[in-house]
């Protein structure tokens, strides 16, 4: 089986995010970039499926030179090949514009299954996987915590937790799955893995290599635009409840929630 994973680099979740002087982007000077945590589940799941069924694992990333580091991390975990779409015109796109780049890249290799993170924890869009499934016209299975490939490798059965229930879906391959926490525990790259990764193929592509023009992708190819970024509403400093005993503190709190906050 050929399994692809689309990865995104995001600011480490420890980062204090600050708005830049233009008001529509963030300050990137001191950011440590890491692989989106949900994408790691996709890499791990792809490796497990390959270990059981054979095949090849290919990881795809779009973005500037720094993305190579996350692609190498995936290779060090065990992926076989990487594709890096490194073209400034592809940056800053909305979900559909970004999915167009990914679609063009993945169409160049045969695949049975594609993994994307269920969302990237930067813009929290939760759209690129769905848009990619539309462009490729393959079934979409979102926010998945369990993946089972059929013995004849033509179908996949997945588990999807939703509000108050769990749905089990089955569909035909090829398909696109977006990954949720709980799917697996991603492995760390081993030292031999890191050494091997240096020699694994990592293909750099420009838009022209993918048959795309600059007006189809990136900001130019986007429908959704940012009007402004704002900091979250300030929460005013809270009230620490002062009293002698836990009993008194608890009683005061419940009284305040009822009479002052009026939410009980």
């Amino acid at each position: 089986m050929n399994i692809l994973i689309c990865i995104k680099q995001i600011p480490d979740t420890e980062t204090q995010i600050k708005i830049d002087s233009g008001g529509k982007g963030i300050q990137t000077a001191d950011i440590k970039w890491v692989m989106n945590p949900y994408d790691e589940f996709g890499v791990e799941e792809a490796l497990r499926i390959k270990e059981k069924n054979g095949g090849k694992v290919i990881v795809v990333g779009v973005g500037p030179q720094r993305v190579v580091e996350s692609l190498r991390t995936s290779l060090a975990m065990g992926a076989d090949e990487a594709i890096h779409v490194d073209d400034p015109a592809a940056d800053g796109g909305d979900a559909l514009a970004t999915a167009r780049v990914l679609a063009a890249a993945v169409k160049q290799v045969p695949f049975d299954l594609i993994f994307c993170g269920q969302r990237a924890v930067d813009d929290d869009n939760a759209q690129v996987g769905a848009a990619l499934s539309e462009l490729l016209q393959i079934p979409l299975l979102s926010v998945i915590t369990k993946v089972e490939i059929s013995d004849d490798k033509t179908k996949v059965k997945v588990t999807r937790p939703v509000e108050g229930a769990t749905w089990v879906f089955e569909t035909t391959l090829p398909a696109l799955i977006t990954t949720q926490k709980g799917l697996n525990e991603p492995r760390y790259a081993s030292l031999p893995g890191i050494m091997k990764a240096k020699k694994k193929p990592l293909a750099a592509k420009k838009l022209g290599d993918l048959g795309l023009s600059a007006d189809q992708v990136g900001a130019a190819g986007s429908k959704l635009t940012i009007k402004a970024l704002t900091p979250p509403p300030e929460r005013k400093a809270g009230k620490i409840i002062e009293a002698e005993t836990p009993q008194e503190k608890g009683a005061i709190l419940v009284k305040l929630l009822r009479e002052e906050a009026k939410i009980i």
Binding site: Q127, A131, L140, P161, A165, W167, S222, G238, L257, I263
Partner: protein
């Protein structure tokens, strides 16, 4: 003026979900500002009278797509029916729920219709015909105002428990329109094998109006029973910090934060949670935050409306008793 606002309603087992009422109410408010009509669409099978309920919340027209293939949600079949409806009706704005089902469906639809989608919005307003959607990014560390100027329909999904439900007016009636359902075989590749109902019956964190959460200070899995008891009294859902989940004390589905669920309750009670930046991002938009923590310097107190510095194992049972007196 645009050709109206379409709300994608959501039902489960033939019953409309709360998010549908929230969004029809919000659609009505936007429509009243701009002199437009609001339509809602319900997909399912053997829906009976249920879709008509949306009239009382402000829908002028209710489209009903009722077919055996739509009995249970699948992304391909639902997308196919909705994209056909949108192409024929040409609404100016389409709004769905930022629920598990709604987010997936809206994302597929926006791609198929080649338009922009503002996901998981906490505020919607109109500037003329232009929908300005406010949405948290970085799990709430920032907010973005986004818009779609060059394509139609303008699409958004609304976060549960944000948009107020209008007082239902039983005297209002809506035009009921039956949607012709024609689904191609390739849209039926995905099938539901089984649906397992959550036996606990607890409200999902993303839709809960009240949450009691525990962190590292809970010390072990069994201690969460005191949070469960408190939650039972006040009708809350129990959540957890990442450290409690990573320690194996709670399931992944309970995790609140940037890499878990982003929540928006009226009351959030954080017990033994220090308040890592990722956790604060995920619960920072709660209307009222209460923190119980031994450490007076814990960052959670910077976000909390009310704080109790003390041992949660002493404080939580007191809260349970005090709430019992008034509930």
């Amino acid at each position: 003026m645009g050709k109206g606002i379409l709300i994608i309603a959501e039902q489960r087992g033939g019953t409309l979900r709360k998010i549908s009422l929230e969004l029809v109410s919000e659609g009505r408010r936007l429509a009243d500002q701009s002199g437009q009509k609001v339509a809602a669409v319900v997909l399912g099978h053997q829906l009976g009278e249920e879709p008509k309920k949306l009239a009382a919340y402000g829908a002028d027209t209710i489209y009903v797509a009722d077919a055996p293939e739509l009995k249970h949600y699948t992304p391909e079949a639902y997308t196919a029916v909705l994209s056909d409806l949108i192409k024929s009706q040409e609404p100016d704005i389409v709004i769905g729920g930022a629920s598990q089902q709604g987010k997936e469906l809206a994302a597929k639809l926006a791609a198929r219709l080649e338009t922009g989608l503002a996901m998981d919005c906490v505020g919607l307003r109109l500037e003329g015909d232009l929908l300005i959607a406010k949405r948290p990014i970085y799990a709430g560390k920032l907010f973005a105002e986004v818009m779609c100027e060059t394509a139609r329909p303008q699409m958004a999904t609304g976060r549960p428990n944000v948009f107020a439900i209008q007082e239902p007016d039983a005297s209002k009636a809506a035009e009921i329109v039956t949607v012709e359902v024609a689904i191609k075989p390739e849209d039926l590749r995905t099938t539901l094998v089984e649906e397992l109902a959550d036996q606990t019956g607890k409200v999902d964190l993303t839709e809960a109006t009240c949450i009691v959460s525990g962190g590292r200070g809970m010390k072990e899995a069994d201690n969460f029973v005191i949070l469960e008891k408190l939650a039972g009294i006040i009708g809350a859902t129990v959540g957890a910090s990442r450290s409690a989940v990573d320690a194996g004390w709670r399931p992944q589905s309970d995790q609140v934060g940037q890499t878990g669920k982003v929540v928006n309750p009226n009351l959030y009670v954080a017990c033994g949670i220090s308040g890592a930046i990722q956790h604060l991002a995920g619960m920072g938009s709660s209307k009222v935050i209460v923190a119980v923590n031994k450490d007076p310097d814990a960052p959670i107190f910077q976000k909390a409306d009310y704080g109790i510095v003390g041992d949660l194992f002493e404080v939580v049972p007191v809260l349970e008793e005090e709430f019992k007196k008034i509930m």
